[in-house]
Subunit: 300 residues, 2 copies
Amino acid sequence: MMQLPDSIDITEVCPRDGFQNHKPLINPETKKEIIDDLCKLGFTRMEITSFVSPKAIPQMSDAGEVVRFFNSRWAEQIEGISLIPNLKGAELALKAGAKSLIMVVSASEKHNMANTGRTVADSLAELAEISRIKGDADLNIGIGTSFICPFAGEIAVSDVLEIVRASLNLGISNITIADTTGTANPLKVHDSLSSIKKEFSCSGFSLHFHDTYGFGLANVLTALQLGYASFESSAAGMGGCPFAPGATGNLATEDLVNMAAGMGIKTGINLPDLLEVSRRITKRLNLSLVSHSASTQLGL
Amino acid sequence: MMQLPDSIDITEVCPRDGFQNHKPLINPETKKEIIDDLCKLGFTRMEITSFVSPKAIPQMSDAGEVVRFFNSRWAEQIEGISLIPNLKGAELALKAGAKSLIMVVSASEKHNMANTGRTVADSLAELAEISRIKGDADLNIGIGTSFICPFAGEIAVSDVLEIVRASLNLGISNITIADTTGTANPLKVHDSLSSIKKEFSCSGFSLHFHDTYGFGLANVLTALQLGYASFESSAAGMGGCPFAPGATGNLATEDLVNMAAGMGIKTGINLPDLLEVSRRITKRLNLSLVSHSASTQLGL
């Protein structure tokens, strides 16, 4: 008998991770329509924007406006999460009224330096400072390159565990383990997640997988079999740095929901409704990128 | 510890399953160039053509020529398999000099009727007749719709087991279990393959999965964990009835080889060489369809 959880939670990341590297700039009104569409599907958590340098990521320069919009309509039912790379981002997010933050720190020293210009220790020091100034806001952490780093190769799980311990010591109990480049295979995922489970149990951990190399659902399956029951994914498979036009990056939410539904695992998300929302996203943004499920429309 | 085999065998099906529904017609000389390219990669088994009605599948009307070409160059090292839907196809294949046949029978009565115009019992009776007339040729069986049928829904594993027993009684020891439409999820695959393993062990069974819904490698992983070590896949992900242009159908050989290599499982196939062959296939045939690994070129 295959051991699987009865239900999983999905954090929808399309409005942040999906939009982040999209070109051209998406009109804030279009973003709001898409966020509305996604919120109506019943997600309980959503990454809605990020407070990063508008020079580095112009697509997110409307972060404040998005947060204010979200707060006015959805913040009661849904945890709307703003990504922050550092203390300055946290200050901007809190000033804009963000009620939930996720700080990203890479398990790979080299990747963290390339991504944020800081050592892991410096990022964790900023995380501690953020936890002091955050007030009532929720604080989450996302651990990037948790399995493989494009610069440093395979990541020792001990590097991930150190960041997990530091986060728990700060009272941060929602931790995302991310395969930033989609290169993690099920064996590596199994080994790392087994170690994490052994020390901390599966509770409080979300998994963020990419489908860049087609490993997305195989890695999800590996996590499910270990008892992990919280995942991040992106409607229409948007984002996640696909290397080529038409290539996949982030794991598509509809592919995750479709596989879960087929295996009798509850997600709280209605698949045909989600497919319709993904269809509208691709139409609005004129995307050639499509998820497996959206491109086949499940034969609907 | 994740239990995985040390090595797997891959049957390359691009020249048959990949080409089958491709339009326009592929020049026989182009097919020969592609077969040459694939054979040089080191596959030990390959589906090279099918002896079906040229009216139904015009792309395979050069089956005799392809078999003769293959026999003249590769038959010593590689099992070159011709697909046959019935006795008539077998007679034509044998007459053309085919040294290995695979007869397809669907586990779903409805699908077998739609696909071959015969009941499963009638197909098995023809299989028995083929086993009598085949002479020195090898005879394999492929069991279509082994998990889910587009007409009949979920397939009871008992229907698959009956065909397996009938095949073994005829001395047919190479049996492909196929997810014809790509709708089988890992739980269903696990349940069915567990039952097959329980009665017959994993030896002699190949798995044929599609990536239509992104489940391809998750299903491979499920089979690997049960001890199955033989798979069919198609270079460049060609074929397998994708529903939409750009959508994936057959599991791409490079995605399978890439995942296996990442997990330390030997395939005997060099991934960069395979990617180059797949690149040349897509270029020759002007395909927009690309596998995950080919579209990202593994960052090469």
